[in-house]
Chain length 243, copies 2
């Protein structure tokens, strides 16, 4: 069944209408009256419809059923990633979206080689959000993860620590495994924090522990900064019973 | 401590000697007599040494202790991936190596868009093996995963099925989770098989089930062909107690 991303307002209309690119896409697909389509608002709501009328430039739909998205994870996992070089952040946004992340938060840390300046940040956020939207569409998600940036490491710790379970992955940690951190409780929201290319500073790790984050290992092998968050996300999704 | 990759013969010498690029690297690092270095043969054996003599063009070492690599996973996970487009296979080789894969096996399947011809395969394998070696070095592994190709899907199933636990991931499977497949026994070797960009054909999935592979889901979201093997590998490493 074809899925269309629309605004929440369009989705909530009594008789939803596809316009613009969506209408073009429907015509390319040669949808016919009576065919079923699924509308998603990118915020977790979906609406199953049938095509009522293939008009010129717009497609009028009839609502069959409104529902929550069926493809979202039962847990909310937020990825907190220290700014890596540009292409790596884009890679993580795309892959973390596929893997079901709730949001992706980038922030500066002391060893970040790359951090976007204020000026270019607006355009970059727009680009990053588009990457998330495109990956969400391709992977069949009903929610487009928000991509956001924070101005400081302290702000990242503060926000991350509000999840049921907040974890920082550190290559020099050996004793505490992710498994130990996950076994402690029945968390429904997670913050997974990882460092930049040069790793986190030991003082930053101590600061995170003080802020309430669990400091964990991802195993004996050193992972690149773009691999660590995706490995951790995959493991948390597995541990949460997603697959 | 600095690690040097050497041949098994060099590692097994009574008094190992660094030559060529390794000797250059030692000079750049300004190693001094008495300093400890670690030799790895890329096949899982290591040798802790001290520098005996920084010669011109070679570095003579004294053996302290020979041992198995400390950074290898307790389980052997083989990645079986249907040929994707070139850059994706390289991506998977690099990341799977970081994540601790034992070997990476590429093979053709019916919907493969891209498959290397016989002529170019030799050069490609050489390139792929270099990517694995470089990723193994960076992530601190003692074993360089072998990259190999098989001539047919049937050959891939046959080889994959010889692991303690062989699993095929299929986007239309909903009932059987990876967790179910892993709970069945105390496997020490795994084959994880995933399809190309267009997915596996339903007949290929049936053929795999007949060959003894478990058919599992990786969750409700559709993963790209380069994301699926890395997600599965991360989860298996987690489930095996690696982190």
């Amino acid at each position: 069944m074809t899925r269309f991303f629309v605004t929440p307002e369009e989705l909530n209309a009594q008789q939803p209408v596809l316009t613009g690119e969506n209408a073009n896409h429907a015509r390319v697909l040669r949808l016919k009256a009576g065919e079923e389509v699924l509308l998603c608002d990118g915020e977790g709501s979906e609406c199953l419809c049938t095509v009522a009328d293939m008009g010129a430039g717009e497609v009028v739909l009839n609502v069959i059923r409104r529902m929550d998205s069926q493809n979202e994870a039962a847990v909310r996992v937020s990825i907190y990633m220290a700014f890596p070089k540009a292409d790596k952040l884009e890679h993580v946004i795309q892959k973390a979206t596929e893997l079901g992340a709730y949001e992706i938060v980038a922030f500066p840390s002391s060893r970040c080689v790359s951090r976007p300046d204020e000026k270019s940040l607006g355009k970059k956020l727009e680009r990053w959000q588009k990457i998330a939207a495109s990956a969400a569409e391709q992977s069949g998600r009903g929610l487009v993860p928000k991509v956001l940036t924070l101005p400081s490491y302290a702000a990242a710790l503060d926000r991350a620590s509000k999840a049921d379970k907040a974890i920082l992955f550190y290559e020099n940690e050996q004793a505490t495994t992710l498994r130990m951190a996950l076994e402690e409780g029945n968390a429904r929201s997670f913050s997974l924090l990882t460092g930049p290319e040069g790793g986190l500073d030991v003082k930053e790790v101590e600061q995170a522990a003080k802020a309430g984050l669990s400091v964990c290992t991802l195993g004996k092998r050193i992972l690149r900064c773009e691999t660590a968050p995706l490995c951790a996300l995959s493991a948390v999704m597995y541990a949460s019973g997603e697959f």
